[in-house]
């Protein structure tokens, strides 16, 4: 099979392989079940975020408020369930989180689809408003005693075991949720007319209007969907950390957008695949984790991730331009 080097997916996959080879050479312990489960665990929340951001980018918009939505949701969900519905089982807790996230996403949706405001401006605004509102009016203290449903979910493991050296490894059940989110989103984007309409709007809003696509309706769906996923990610994060810290998550936006862009989605909209997004997340998680394992100071992380973005998105763009210049 011939590799298509103008695709981000190829490049990112090759970089991931190369990175693993380097890591394995310098630390023989790298190639182990423990490393794998560790990486998967770290990809759970990032992955759910990234899928949401990917959908927005495909529609030609951008959302930077999702981390604030997630933080708000996990805090409010933990607080409400503790106070009013401690009997709620784990799946109920996740559902409440998704509902709260969806409501916040609907605020973005109304402002963007309803009033036609620019997406970056709206979500920059709501990022600040959601976070500020939570810290001012709801609370700033960590909730260390989570409601029973979230505690139950926090303890659920898909598999656990012991390494030869006596250390433990485990894979959290939330990994299944991330996989389900990827599968569901893939289905929506590629197998429903709604998903094709999202791609169509990302390709040309004006054309979409002219052939009768309900552009506002589709945009509203997109921002609610991102909100739902952000709420889900926030609830998972708190359950796994066994604490709802209102200062968590915010600040992660750019890493997530980086992962999605690295995977081939374009900020202009209409392009990209979920495969690329998953690979992008894998690479970012790998870099964040392994640089520490390799004994490289963590401040190098941001340099490394920055370089990856420049090379990972710059190289295909440069190759596409060269191909275009040859064809001209």
């Amino acid at each position: 099979m011939k590799l298509d080097w103008t695709r981000n997916e190829t490049l990112v996959a090759v970089v991931i392989l190369g990175f693993c080879v380097l890591a394995a050479l310098s630390d023989p312990g790298f190639l182990s079940v423990a490393t794998l489960t560790d990486l998967l665990r770290n990809g759970i929340v990032l992955g759910v975020f990234a899928v949401g951001v990917f959908v927005v980018l495909v529609s030609g918009g951008i959302d930077v408020s999702f981390t604030a939505v997630a933080a708000f949701t996990m805090y409010v969900t933990a607080m409400t369930l503790n106070a009013l519905m401690p009997w709620m089982p784990w799946w109920g807790a996740l559902a409440v989180g998704m509902a709260v996230g969806g409501l916040l996403g609907a605020i973005n949706g109304v402002l963007i689809a309803g009033f036609g405001l620019p997406t970056l401006i709206v979500t920059l605004g709501t990022l600040s408003v959601f976070r500020g509102f939570m810290l001012t009016f709801i609370g700033q203290k960590q909730i260390t005693t989570l409601p029973p449903g979230m505690r139950e979910f926090g303890r659920m493991m898909l598999l656990r075991g012991e390494n030869a050296d006596g250390s433990f490894y485990s894979l959290h059940a939330a990994f299944v949720v991330t996989v389900l989110v990827v599968v569901l989103t893939w289905f929506i984007l590629n197998r429903t007319m709604l998903g094709r309409a999202i791609y169509a709007i990302g390709g040309s809003v004006e054309s979409a209007r002219r052939i009768g696509i309900n552009v506002r309706g589709v945009q509203f769906f997109v921002y609610v969907y991102v909100g739902v996923l952000a709420g889900l990610a926030g609830t998972i994060h708190a359950s796994m950390a066994r604490v709802a810290n209102p200062f968590d998550l915010v600040g992660l936006e750019l890493s997530v957008i980086a992962a999605v862009v690295l995977g081939g989605a374009r900020l202009a909209g209409g392009y990209g695949t979920l495969t690329g997004t998953v690979l992008g997340v894998a690479l970012i998680v790998l870099v964040r984790n392994s640089l520490i394992v390799l004994g490289i100071p963590s401040t190098f992380q941001s340099i490394a991730i920055g370089c990856l973005i420049l090379i990972g998105t710059g190289l295909p763009a440069w190759q596409a331009r060269r191909a275009a210049a040859r064809a001209a």
Binding site: N190, R191, T192, M193, L194, G195, R196, Y199, A200, G202, G203, S204, E206, S207, A208, R210, I211, G212, I213, G270, Y271, A325, R326, A328
Partner: protein
């Protein structure tokens, strides 16, 4: 006798006191092709919008198959089988050919899930119907303009079109592509589909039309069977005056060579291009799409880097592949697509002209001498007769002809020696076109060398002293102007 497919009667529309359409009435029968001719601003686009249900007429009625429509909406119009193919085609560049063709039909059928099989079948069937083979999985952005147009036609057909309205269908097509479009129109007509061509460049579609309607300033000024019209009479009706094309004044015998291009080559694009351009000469370059004509034009201005050869201006070599050096040497380039390559659309007319002269009006420390700059800008607006209400208005508010003048004014202000004009009258109306040709003649009379690259063969015949024929990246012929007819030239290009 059955009622015509569409009947307009006394349709009138005013915008803010300006009458865009004034009592226009005509009808279109099934399987009939109608030419709606008119210059920019004659009310053509308003008429399209009214038929598409986007705008409501103030007075007058529209009937589909004899049934008078009360309030026409886009939905009603589409359901009645009226499909507009806009000049920009309104396709999705990121989606595949199959999806572009079938999406509207699928949405119309109320589909919620994507059925790849059905989408491909629809696309395959409609493409077969017009006898075209385009790969179904190709992304539309990778297609040529002509293929994009075919995809747009196929999309209209996929939703049971009864009347296809084509807005400016031929302006971006080459001679040969227009031929194949006409063949497809004949197929559609045989199938009972009616076609309404809306354009100011209609002479080439006349042969497939039964009926011609000419609009001027919102009113119908002429109507009749197509065989009663020809290019000249159409132009006369559209402009209300005879637009004369005079052949270029002969070149003085001793005119010095201005630009000498030797063995210019870019592998796979153009090869061994050699020609000389004399002062005061207008040189035409004719070639089909893919003949290398556009790449050559760009290469002369450094936008495409040739790999071998030389360009000399007044005997001095011009660095290759460097537009800034080419401009400094005195070469100007007016691109084919002035909207995306030639103008800052949202900026003012004055700024669009002034941008070319910023360095000349810079005082110490890079501060601009604004009064001199604006003074010169106003002067050029006047000299090129740009009809602009206000030099501070955005360029996008101007008509095509006036936009082209703004691009020309920008270059003229720099005092160039050689101007390369790529498709100088693409998308401008007939009246403006004659005036642009007049400007070209004036430029040559002032001693500039002008190179005109165009698909519009009558344009080349009317403006050029000499015409170079380009085929497969090579200059195959060098014809003195006036030695060939338009048909003869078309034949040489296609053979």
């Amino acid at each position: 006798m059955t009622a015509p497919l569409v009947t307009l009667d006394g349709v009138t529309k005013t915008y803010a006191g300006i009458t865009a359409l004034d009592g226009v009435g005509f009808s279109i029968a099934a399987g009939e092709a109608v030419c709606l001719a008119g210059e920019n601003g004659s009310g053509k686009s308003t008429l399209i919008k009214i038929l598409a249900g986007v705008e409501r007429p103030d007075r007058g009625t529209i009937a589909f198959s004899g049934a008078v429509q009360g309030a026409l909406t886009p939905r009603v119009s589409t359901d009645a089988g009226i499909k507009v193919i806009f000049q920009d085609f309104s396709l999705f560049p990121n989606l595949s050919v199959a999806e572009n063709i079938a999406m509207t039909a699928e949405m119309g059928a109320g589909a919620r899930l994507v059925r790849h099989g059905r989408i491909r079948d629809t696309a395959r069937l409609t493409l077969d119907r017009i006898g075209v083979d385009i790969p179904l999985d190709a992304a539309v952005e990778t297609l040529s303009v002509a293929h994009k147009q075919l995809v747009a036609i196929a999309r209209a057909l996929a939703t049971d079109a009864k009347l296809i309205i084509m807005d400016e269908p031929t302006t971006t097509l080459t001679e040969r592509e227009v031929r194949s479009l006409l063949a497809i129109i004949r197929l559609l007509k045989a199938d009972g589909v009616a076609v309404l061509f809306v354009s100011h460049k209609l002479a080439e579609v006349l042969e497939v039309c039964e009926h011609v309607v000419v609009l001027r300033n919102g009113a119908k000024v002429a109507e009749g069977p197509a065989d009663q019209f020809d290019a000249a009479s159409l132009t006369l009706h559209m402009t209300g005056r005879a637009v004369g094309e005079t052949p270029p004044a002969p070149l003085p015998p001793g005119a010095p060579v201005l630009l000498q291009v030797e063995a210019l080559a870019k592998p796979g694009v153009f090869d061994d291009v050699t020609f000389a351009l004399r002062a005061g000469e207008v040189l035409g370059v004719a070639g089909l799409l893919g003949s290398g004509r556009t790449a050559l034009a760009k290469a002369l201005f450094g936008l495409v880097a040739p790999e071998a050869g030389t360009i000399r201006l007044d005997g001095r070599p011009v660095p290759l592949g460097d537009p800034i050096a080419a401009a400094a040497a005195g070469i100007g380039y007016v691109p084919e697509d002035r909207l995306t390559e030639g103008l800052f659309l949202t900026q003012s007319i004055a700024r669009n002209i002034a941008i070319g002269r910023l360095d000349a009006h810079a005082r110490g420390g890079g501060v601009l001498d604004l009064s001199a700059l604006w003074g010169e800008t106003r002067d050029w607006l006047k000299r090129l007769a740009v009809k602009a209400p206000d030099p501070e208005a955005a360029v996008r508010s101007l008509s095509g002809g006036n936009q082209q003048r703004v691009v020309l004014a920008r270059w003229m202000a720099r005092g160039p020696r050689v101007l390369v004009l790529n498709g100088p009258s693409v998308g401008v109306d007939v009246g403006s076109k004659a005036e642009i040709h007049g400007i070209i003649a004036d430029l040559a009379a002032q001693g500039l060398g002008v190179i005109v690259i165009s698909d519009d063969l009558p344009e080349l015949m009317a403006t050029c002293h000499r015409i170079l024929v380009m085929k497969g990246g090579r200059m195959v012929e060098d014809l003195p102007g006036g030695s060939v007819t338009t048909d003869g030239l078309a034949h040489r290009l296609a053979s």
